[in-house]
């Protein structure tokens, strides 16, 4: 019995140690450009504002942004980017540090950023200088499809590339934990191939489903923000630096009728519980009214057995500069009153299809890795054979 107890203590200790981090980083990527993708830039800038407000210093935020909205000649409000009808809050402000701008937002740069394989000449501000004590928040937005995200209408990053890059980060000891968030069409496919420990992932829509934009501003003339990001940001306004809200609280706040798509969560790679085991906020995740299909939550079964501290939102969004080593953050459990800056009526204008879904929605999920190869080679042979027959006229 004593042995068992010791063993339990040991386990708890390991889990406790796994949850410790001494610095926070954020990688925010908007992979679209051009004026009509205004909302993607607003998404990224909204996240930027939130992580900065919660205390991640600019030097630890890597923002990849085409950045052609604020100073676009079509922008009636020059130098500003708004994320809501009525233009209450200028997200562009006067203190935006874009690390990768315009044509620098490429798949190669993104993967180099993650893996740390830079050319010697790349300055510190463009590097992700994380270590094994870093918690990283990775946010991707843009146009995507099943297992890929398009970068500036030019190239694509596949979910496999991101998984491999994160695996290399794990191997190199470049993170403690990662929170991976994607807002794009079929976003949940982007985290489906991850395989490295310590990653918590969430996406805006299931495979075969679009993500939608939230609202238009008729003076700006385009959709100003995507629905999923809008409601995440709206929730984040309730979080302050000392908040004890957990990740489970954030995920439980997903409201399908409002968002218009079915967000998913993946926690099977993540060691800590998402919320308190008693009265878990996600106990009924994905089963409420409005969910047309049951919400996707990979790792639902494993949640019960997890030990250690629950994952707080501020573990990923806050800046934990523990100024004094023996100082504790304290047990403050208070909410900051909503300052209503980016909150507005949840009145939803007719949803604009935000992303071109490149693949038909009824696309079969690829079952196993052999299937697509077989199918493709069969098609190749069939077509070739047909041509040969026609030509020779045998």
């Amino acid at each position: 019995m004593k042995f068992l107890l010791n063993w339990l203590w040991l386990l708890a200790g390991i889990h406790y140690a796994a949850g410790e981090h001494t610095n926070n980083w954020a990688v925010l990527v908007c992979s679209s450009r051009y004026w009509f993708n205004y909302r993607h830039m607003a998404n990224a800038l909204g996240m930027y504002r939130t992580v900065k407000r919660l205390g991640i210093p600019d030097s630890q935020i890597i923002l990849m942004l085409a950045d052609d909205a604020a100073c676009n000649s079509r922008n009636k409000f020059a130098g500003s980017v708004y994320a809501n009808t009525g233009r209450e809050l200028d997200l562009y402000g006067d203190n935006i540090e874009v690390d990768y701008r315009g044509y620098e937002v490429t798949v190669e740069n993104f993967l180099r950023l993650l893996t740390g394989r830079h050319d010697e000449s790349i300055p510190r501000s463009k590097r992700l200088l994380t270590d094994k004590n870093s918690n990283i928040f990775i946010y991707l937005t843009g146009h995507g499809g099943n297992e890929f995200l398009k970068f500036q209408d030019n190239e694509e990053v596949s979910a496999h590339d991101i998984s491999d890059a994160l695996h290399q980060m794990h191997q190199a000891g470049r993170y403690n934990e990662i929170f991976f968030m994607v807002d794009t069409c079929q976003a949940n496919s982007m985290y489906s191939t991850l395989y490295s420990p310590g990653i918590l992932a969430t996406g805006s829509s299931v495979v075969g489903e679009n993500s939608y934009s939230h609202e238009n501003d008729y003076d700006v003339g385009v959709a100003v923000i995507d629905s999923y990001t809008h409601y995440v940001l709206e929730y984040m306004e309730r979080v302050n630096k000392t908040s004890r809200l957990t990740m489970a609280d954030l995920f439980a706040s997903y409201d399908v009728p409002k968002i218009g798509s079915h967000p998913g969560v993946r926690s099977d790679l993540f060691q800590r519980p998402l919320g308190p085991q008693q009265q878990h906020p996600m106990a009924e995740y994905g089963r409420g009214p409005g969910w047309k299909v049951e919400g996707e939550w990979q790792g639902r079964e494993g949640e019960q057995g997890k030990m250690g501290k629950e994952a707080l939102i501020t573990d990923f969004f806050g800046g934990v500069v523990s100024v004094n080593a023996d100082e504790d953050a304290g047990d403050v459990s208070q909410f900051e009153p909503c300052d209503d800056a980016v909150l507005h009526k949840s009145l939803k204008s007719s949803p604009v299809v935000s992303s071109s879904s490149f693949l038909p929605t009824s696309r079969l999920p690829s079952s196993g890795s052999l299937y697509p190869i077989l199918r493709a080679s069969a098609a190749f042979l069939l077509l070739g054979g047909l041509f040969v027959f026609v030509f020779i006229g045998v």
Partner: protein, 497 residues
């Protein structure tokens, strides 16, 4: 009858010419295939995988000889056990010797007070002898401070004097930074020069606004709450270090609050002003708040005596950030103000051990990642770096027991670490993007299918014609009607067209 010439008589319609043309296409394709294969395949040089795995399983044992005076002979086994317990990377050897005070190594001698001098520890016999092992452990293998920065062979120390708002009056226009550095920082950098190569830079800024409003207190002063401290650094508006190199930077900021907000104090958790005006951000650097005295001094150039109150915290912060162990509170050093050899040695051992573990991990990760990700190129530089790291480790392990000083061990371990991380983070090691088979067919089919089909068709038709020709020629030969076989042959070719 026809005014057209018989096709078989036109030079470029000769069978042989046509066949040559078709054959040349195939020859070019056949020759191009290896070239295409070579240009599209990636260079993956072999890495010494098995060697890396064997090396990564080894554990470095750093020898540690302690000579103990016979007075403490009862504690020998306890000393041995407690040091091994805390630091398994040390190969402890405790001797009882009569002449410990003459040895150059570590020695424990009886003395009047608990004192260290060079590598000797004087332990008063009046103290409980059972505490000797724990005292030795805290001298030889102290716990690494969590706030220390990760080891790097090079550091850049950046000293910045920040005036919050120069326009509000009472601006500090200069400081005697050279004197202050030589007084407070140079003793540290020269003592730890074996471990790191330091570059120092300094600057004065006249406008450095805070990103928040400090709390206004009842007595008219201003305070920084613990929460304020975490966001104190306004990295968006302050440029604290030059970006001319990629060496890790340790920042030291002397912050002069604006004349409108003086004095600015640091508040405790309970909201009362704390006595300290300095705070440390782990792995990042240190900050000291400098409040100018109430009647503003006539000269606003800070002299060495003025800087005393800020640079002694800076030197302590620097030591903490470099992982320099503290002396146990009960132990005093004979040479006050300088760094004792006990501490420097234990830091050297710790960093060596750390570097070896890190380079093992990095090497193992490199090999694993390369074998797991098939599209990852490995060029000769990476190969050389991996081999170089292995060589440094081999040498370190081979000579650790015999004839390597602590300094040399650190040099080897640092070289292994630098090379292994250079190999892992080599810019050429970027895997090719993942392309599913569908993508490959989608790229190649439109281009090659359309070009290949006519080629195939022409070749097959030519082969058919040739076989038919041969068959007919054979048949004719058999029938032995060879009178006008040539004309018949021409007809045969015509019909097939």
């Amino acid at each position: 009858m026809s005014r057209f010439r018989d096709p078989s008589t036109i030079s470029f319609q000769y069978d042989s010419v046509r066949r040559c043309i078709i054959a040349s296409y195939w020859i070019i394709i056949a020759l191009a295939l290896p070239l295409w294969w070579k240009t599209t395949s990636i260079q993956r040089l072999p890495l010494p995988t098995s060697e890396v795995y064997t090396q990564a399983q080894k554990k470095l044992q750093i020898p540690l000889e302690i000579c103990v005076d016979p007075v403490f002979s009862s504690q020998v086994s306890s000393i041995h056990a407690s040091i091994r317990n805390v630091a398994s990377y040390l190969e402890v050897n405790v001797n009882i010797g009569q002449h410990c005070n003459q040895s150059a190594g570590y020695a424990v001698l009886p003395g009047d007070q608990l004192l260290i001098q060079d590598r000797k520890l004087y332990y008063p016999t009046t103290l409980a002898v059972e505490n000797l092992p724990s005292t030795l452990v805290s001298l030889v293998a102290p716990e690494m401070d969590q706030r220390a920065a990760q080891y790097s062979p090079r550091y850049r120390l950046s000293f910045t004097l920040l005036n919050e708002d120069g326009s509000a009056g009472q601006v500090v226009t200069g400081w005697d930074i050279r004197q202050a550095i030589s007084q407070y920082i140079s003793p540290i950098t020269s003592a730890l020069g074996i471990l790191h190569n330091f570059t120092i830079e300094s600057q004065v800024q006249f406008h450095a606004p805070l990103a928040f409003e400090p709390a206004s207190l009842a007595d008219g002063t201003y305070g920084l709450t613990p929460e304020n401290l975490t966001v104190f650094i306004n990295s968006a508006e302050w440029t604290l270090s030059s970006s001319s190199s990629n060496d890790p930077v340790l920042h030291f900021v002397l912050f002069v609050p604006s004349a409108k907000r003086r004095p600015l104090t640091i508040l405790n958790l309970d909201g009362n002003p704390s006595s300290s005006s300095a705070f440390l951000i782990p792995q990042w650097g240190g900050i000291v708040i400098l409040n100018l005295p109430a009647p503003p001094p006539t000269t606003l150039d800070l002299t060495l005596p003025d800087l005393r109150s800020s640079f002694s915290p800076f030197s302590r912060q620097l030591l903490t950030l470099l992982g320099f162990p503290r002396l146990p509170p009960s132990v005093s050093s004979s040479s006050k103000g300088t760094l004792s050899l006990w501490q420097i040695d234990s830091l050297l051992r710790q960093r060596t051990h750390e570097n070896v573990v890190r380079s093992h991990d990095t090497l193992r990760s490199t090999v694993t990642v390369v074998s797991q990700i098939q599209g990852m190129p490995v060029d000769s530089q990476v190969q050389a770096q991996v081999q170089g790291a292995l060589k440094a480790l081999h040498e370190l392990f081979a000579f650790a027991r015999t004839n390597l000083s602590l300094d040399e061990m650190l040099v080897y371990s640092a070289r292994a670490l630098t090379l292994s991380s250079k190999a892992f983070f080599h810019p050429g090691m970027l895997a090719l993007l993942y392309f599913p088979a569908e993508h490959k067919y989608a790229v190649y089919t439109p281009l090659f299918a359309s070009a290949m089909i006519p080629l195939f068709a022409a070749a097959m038709r030519e082969v058919k014609a040739w076989r038919k020709e041969r068959k007919e020629a054979k048949a004719k030969a058999a029938k032995d009607v060879a009178v006008d076989g040539a004309a018949m042959d021409a007809n045969a070719v015509d019909t097939s067209q």
